[in-house]
């Protein structure tokens, strides 16, 4: 049945359609509706476990425990909560725990501007935890896509044995669109769990799931490998290769609008919806898989265009990645402070396309304005 559905709700429905049966979370706007919907769902479906944890740290670690026990688990939070979860993200990367983190971004850093929309967590997803890892992350720009991307995130998590991130923002989360989530759920393909859950192991003897580097095979199996670089390299590159291979199956992006235009706009999430009235004059590259960076795909497209501009609600986080991948200039229009409006997009494009700086003119404070014009005119 087609009905009005919200972005956050679509994320939850997508999770359930993908087989999720454990949710842990801590209330934080603008992600809270996911927690609310999960608790209501759990009340009617006892096989779906729900935990309102004491904080985001507990939520993140609880979904790791639930996943090891055999559940498909996920949590939902916003930027500040995601910061608290970073240590657990690293643990899940190290141990190889399939689970899904939903980060509904708002303006940061810290408490920031609750709950104006932002996109400031692009780099947090990639580099938030200590050490090196290869995260997978997706970012939809609408309700239907939020559902599909969440399903794919769960499947990619199972295939890659890693925590996968679904990015969103205040506007995508609270967007209401008419979709048929029920029909979409019927078409979902689920990837089953690859590893045996806790206490169901096979012949190899009981396993030890450790955040510390351990020998997994051979004569030293079960002993710490904390001073063995060779073992680190083996495990690190095995995981990286696995993640990259899985990511290739989910190379989701959109190349559209006016493909024959001279300027290519890179934008993602809600910014792509806000900028869509400019579709006649610009080409669009919209990465849906944010991490790993769609380098090859973007390179093949970018060659056709004289100018590339990245519109994003942060100070150039994706533009940095794009510039590195393309080895050429990517102009930036940062839409900061939650001001993601068509007017701000137009002003920014006009500024950077005429050779101006990426930084918008900083408006004077009311006091400065008053000093300049004591009568309050102009």
């Amino acid at each position: 049945m087609r009905r009005l559905s919200q972005g956050n709700e679509a994320v939850f429905r997508g999770a359930v359609a993908a087989g999720a049966d454990y949710f842990a979370g801590y209330p934080i706007s603008p992600s809270t509706e996911i927690l609310n919907v999960a608790s209501a769902y759990a009340a009617e479906h006892p096989e779906f476990r729900f935990l309102q944890a004491e904080d985001e740290i507990a939520s993140a670690n609880a979904i790791i425990g639930a996943s090891l026990a055999g559940a498909k688990s996920f949590t939902a939070t916003s930027g500040p909560g995601f910061s608290l979860m970073q240590e657990a993200v690293g643990y899940a990367q190290k141990v190889g725990v399939p689970c899904v983190f939903v980060d509904v971004q708002r303006v940061g850093p810290a408490t920031g501007m609750p709950t104006m929309p932002g996109q400031g967590d692009i780099m947090q997803v990639k580099y938030g935890s200590t050490g090196d890892y290869t995260p997978l992350a997706f970012y939809p720009n609408g309700v239907e896509e939020a559902f599909r991307v969440t399903v794919e995130a769960f499947n990619a998590a199972e295939e890659s044995l890693s925590p996968v991130v679904v990015l969103s923002d205040t506007f995508v989360a609270h967007l209401n669109e008419v979709v048929d989530l029920h029909e979409m759920a019927a078409e979902v393909t689920r990837v089953p769990r690859l590893q045996a859950p806790l206490a169901r192991h096979g012949q190899g003897g009981p396993r030890f799931f450790a955040g510390v580097l351990m020998y997994e095979h051979g004569p030293n199996a079960g002993e710490p490998a904390t001073a063995d670089a060779d073992e680190y390299l083996r495990q690190f590159y095995a995981a990286k290769q696995r993640h990259v291979e899985v990511a290739q199956r989910y190379a989701r992006y959109e190349w559209g609008w006016n493909r024959d235009a001279k300027v290519l706009i890179i934008c993602y999430g809600i910014v792509s919806r806000v900028a869509s009235p400019l579709s006649a004059d610009y080409a669009l590259f919209r990465p849906i898989r944010i991490h790993p960076m769609l380098g090859d795909e973007l390179r093949a497209i970018a060659d056709r265009y004289e100018t590339i501009v990245c519109l994003e609600a942060n100070d150039g986080q994706y533009a940095d990645m794009a510039e590195l991948a393309l080895r050429r200039e990517v102009r930036r229009v940062p839409l900061l402070g939650g001001r993601i409006s068509l007017e701000a997009v137009r002003d920014g494009l006009a500024r950077v396309l005429s050779g101006g700086p990426s930084q918008p003119p900083v408006p004077p404070t009311p006091q400065e304005r008053a000093e300049r014009s004591p009568l309050g005119i102009g």
Partner: protein, 343 residues
């Protein structure tokens, strides 16, 4: 199948003895706790198919790697969220958390408070050595006031955290206190904690001779254990709180035992209803608490088997311990006539 018992040394099957010696310093109390825990798990028939060990970071966190159980070595302080989630997804499993005092009460303190509040059905065994040992000996949350440590050279100015009070803030949680010296007591209270239907907390005072004991004036681990023997006394029966240097079990309804295996006071015993089902077959049935009589019977049986085992040749004893032959068969082969079948 009869319960394997201490007398048969069956608990060694619960340990990865091929990984021994452990990384712990000579004289450390953690190994003792691990052996007692293995004995209790073995006695209760809890194995890798029905039990999961969750540990934290620090010296104590390494315990999981030496035990024949599936084990999760979590991040520092995050044992309880992981354990609670495992129990929630797989209620048929016994989830046993082993963590140090820093992991439990300092970095994991918030999780402890809320696991108690939510009555997470897990057992937490806290190796309480009153120090951060692995990092060299800094003040921990349970370090006594005035103790000199690397991070409080003039003496710890703060009051140690009241673990008993925290746990007892819940109407459903069990709190037990014991020491590494009181090994039989430790086994009894660990068993009672695992049998408890709600959150249970075993606070084991333990010696860290290398990074605490020597600095505060003990010459050896043995001196520390002697100190525990002389200082810690069993709480009087019926006590509703444990005074400093008292060991015992506090049940949620306020009935204490001296932790000598006598269990809760009879009026607190719910009616035993269900027989324990086979491990791993569906949700865990409510296990009936073991009454005093049953515990006495088990102890007597254990002692009888110990006496019979003593009459066997060492290699036969080992076979029995490994479960390759039953005690009854071994006795028959050896031509020893027990008074009655040991089962």
């Amino acid at each position: 199948m009869p319960e394997a018992i201490f007398a048969e040394l069956g608990f060694k099957q619960r340990l990865k003895v091929d990984l021994f010696p452990t990384i712990w310093c000579p004289g450390c109390g953690i190994g003792t706790i691990m052996i007692q825990l293995a004995m209790v798990l073995d006695e209760m028939g809890l194995d890798e198919r029905n039990t999961v060990i969750v540990t934290g970071i620090g010296c104590t966190g390494r315990m999981g790697s030496y035990m024949q159980y599936e084990s999760v070595y979590t991040l520092h302080g995050r044992t309880l969220p992981v354990a609670e989630a495992i129990k929630s997804v797989r209620p048929e499993l016994h989830v046993i958390v082993v963590a140090g005092d820093g992991d439990t009460a300092s970095i994991g303190g918030n999780h402890l408070i809320h696991a108690i509040r939510r009555n997470a059905r897990v057992t937490l065994i806290c190796n309480n050595n009153e120090i951060y040992g692995l990092t060299g000996g800094q003040t921990g949350p349970t370090t006594p006031t005035g103790t000199k440590t690397l991070s409080s050279p003039a003496g710890n100015p703060n009051t140690p955290i009241n673990l008993q009070g925290l746990v007892r803030s819940s109407p459903d949680a069990l709190y037990a206190k014991t020491t590494v010296y009181h090994q039989a007591h430790m086994r009894n209270v660990i068993r009672e904690a695992i049998e408890h239907e709600g959150f249970s907390f075993v606070d084991v005072t333990s010696q860290c001779i290398e990074n605490n004991g020597r600095r505060i004036g003990f010459a050896s681990a043995n001196e520390m254990l002697t100190f525990y023997r002389k200082t810690y006394k069993r709480a009087p029966k019926g006590a509703d709180r444990l005074a400093p240097f008292e060991i015992g079990v506090l049940y949620p309804d306020g009935h204490a035992t001296a932790g000598n295996g006598t269990g809760p006071a009879p009026e607190a015993t719910p009616e035993a209803t269900a027989e324990p089902a086979a491990a791993g077959s569906g949700p865990a049935p409510a296990r009936p608490p073991v009454d005093d009589e049953e515990k006495a019977r088990r102890r007597a049986e254990s002692q009888k088997r110990l006496a019979l085992m003593a009459r066997l040749a060492p290699e036969v004893k080992l076979q029995v311990a490994k479960g390759e032959v039953t005690l009854a068969d071994a006795l028959r082969t050896a031509g020893i006539e027990p008074d009655e079948s040991p089962g």
